[in-house]
Amino acid sequence: MASRRVNQDLPVIARFEVRHRNYLAPDGSIARPLPAFTSDAKLLIALYRSMVFVRLFDRKAVALQRTGRLGTYAVSLGQEAVSVGIASAMREEDVLLPSYRDNGALLWRGVKPEEILLFWSGDERGNRFSSGPAHDFPFCVPVGSQAPHAAGVAYALKLRKEPRVAVCLFGDGATSKGDVYEAMNFAGVHKLPAVFIATNNQWAISVPLRLQTACETLAQKAIAAGFAGEQVDGSDVVAMHAATEEAIAAARDGEGPRFIEAVTYRLGDHTTSDDASRYRSVDEVQAHWKEEPIARLRAYLVSRKMWSKADEEQLAAECHERVEQAAERYLATAPRRPETMFDHLYAELPEAYASQRRELAGEHDA
């Protein structure tokens, strides 16, 4: 925002621009010529199936929480295109550093749904990722604190000349933290293979974006770190996939980091412990339901005869089955023995704490 007090006689020494990316309009029509990958019907359908699964998985998780069988859970309702669009553009060897609402990204990368439930039930074993990429980071709860890790990971990848990219996800609130700026600034200095993505869902619990920043976009925050930021329609999975794919390819080719602001909307509460009706109106939420990503992609697929009502019914049944089976496996997981809380504290438990472990195990010191 230019101030009227700016002295117009002084020369302009730098100008910056921020671009916005969107392909599918909220009604599923084409807003701008689609990127080449959309000719791959299999990929589009995979994105669709994945988003539908995430939504059903979320719904099941909330049901488990409401019936006392899961702890506090962060739903991603309305943001499915962000997580799925990003993860689908990554290679397995890339490193994901997720925030706590990125269930969709973890699921796409092969983390078992029962492990995600195990984590939200309060069991560290959920972060083992027994079937997902072993180098990915677990959900990060302290907001934005994973951004410096992404810079460290990317530095290690660059030092070893490995063609891999660190992909770091955080929310709009995180962009107010020094962590995020410090990490992006460092990534810029060293042209690191890192992609930072802010899911701008408009709300940091009860605090709206206008109280986080006076900036017109979050994307422009990359400019201060010396690299490009792009604003993307985060409810358009085609745009999210395309933007992430481009950013990752550039980072992999040694062009340095990129920043993406994924503009979307958190249709659900912050977590199952939150009641969003305290701070935002039903009308506001209803208006955003018209933009949500799943109906949008479905409308496009249907319009192209790539998807039918029968496909939809079959998918719903399949997802239901998968989710129910995952929930059963989660509920059947044997509890940890209490003394195992010591078992991964250090590579080898120091003798100083071994007696505490024995005490918890009911063994008595001589």
């Binding site: 410096p148 990848l157 250090y346």
Partner: protein
């Protein structure tokens, strides 16, 4: 054997670690061409290149967070925080991430990093340059906190810290950086972590301390010797986890203990030790356990800092009082 100052010993250990393991990287503010404000990293960038000895932007949180990310990818980062007064932005990373990455992921990701920082007062430095807040760090589960008191132990313990598979905060007694000289063989041999060192054997009283305060504590033991009191002097060296058995073994013999630290008294690490002694060694005790510490005040700036720090006289007086108790 060649002589080295504490600064030179740490420099030798860093060079040795980088030589033997290409995964070791050194990062911090001014650690490159400048060789660090205390010259601890002098010459390392020239030897190992700017990719492995990197000058970071001026952002301490970043330094600690980078270490976590690098370590999770298998590097062995050694971060430098220029003074302990600037380590506080790193606490989020140390508490929430470095110390618990292994536990959070049940061993899938680990954090073999070292965060080095100068520790303590006594060099007439500017404000915020004289902190000794080691107890804050020793409270963090999953972390190791190490503080050497001589060039040889700085060399051996830093090598051990770098090779350790878990995060270590390595506190370097600023006052000893150049004042302490001793024989150091650059032979790549580490010293054991989690172990206290008995510096001097004695039967009458146990004096336990760490870091720069070993200097005054040892001098106090000399004074006591001339009074006919044989003090056993213990350098705790690793504060977390500390070597309780060596300390309690000593107290079983002497029955008396004075704990000396430069940090403020309340919730200082001495309180932890005193509590353990009370719980485990009461039958051996001949006198109350006594602490000689910095005062419960903000560490004063240069002009008054000498009055804040435990002196040889304060330590010796406390020890005599303990010995007179019974």
């Amino acid at each position: 054997m060649p002589e080295a100052t504490l600064v030179e010993a740490i420099n030798l250990a860093l060079g040795r670690a980088m030589e033997e393991d290409p995964d070791v990287v050194v990062l911090g503010e001014d650690v490159g061409i400048n060789g660090g404000v205390f010259r601890v990293t002098a010459g390392l960038q020239k030897r190992f290149g700017a990719e492995r000895v990197l000058d970071t932007p001026l952002a301490e949180l970043l330094i600690s967070g980078l270490c976590v990310g690098m370590a999770a990818q298998g590097l062995k980062p050694v971060g430098e925080i220029q003074f302990m007064g600037f380590i506080y932005p790193c606490l989020d990373q140390l508490v929430n991430h470095a110390s618990r990455l292994r536990n959070r992921t049940q061993g899938r990701l680990t954090c073999p990093m070292v965060l080095r920082t100068p520790h303590g007062a006594g060099i007439r430095a500017p404000e915020h340059h004289s902190e000794s807040t080691e107890a804050m760090l020793a409270h963090i589960p999953g972390l190791r906190v190490v503080i050497p008191s001589s060039p040889a132990r700085a060399y051996g313990l830093l090598l051990a810290a770098i090779r350790d598979p878990d995060p270590v905060v390595f506190l370097e007694p600023t006052r000893l950086y150049r004042a302490a000289k001793g024989e150091v063989e650059d032979n790549g041999e580490s010293m054991p972590l989690d172990r206290a060192f008995v510096m001097r054997a004695g039967r009458d009283i146990t004096l336990v301390s760490w870091g720069a305060m070993l200097k005054e504590t040892t001098a106090a033991a000399d004074t006591l010797a001339s009074d006919g009191i044989a003090a056993e002097v213990i350098d705790l060296a690793t504060l977390k986890p500390y070597d309780e058995s060596t300390l309690l073994g000593s107290i079983a013999k002497t029955g008396r203990c004075v704990i000396v630290h430069e940090a403020a008294r309340t919730s200082g690490f001495g309180a932890e030790i005193a509590a353990d002694i009370a719980e485990r060694s009461l039958p051996s005790l001949l006198a109350p356990v006594t602490r000689v510490t910095g005062y419960d005040t903000v560490i004063p700036m240069a002009r008054l800092e000498q009055y804040y720090m435990p002196s040889v006289e304060r330590i010796a007086t406390a020890a005599r009082k303990v010995c007179q108790f019974s």
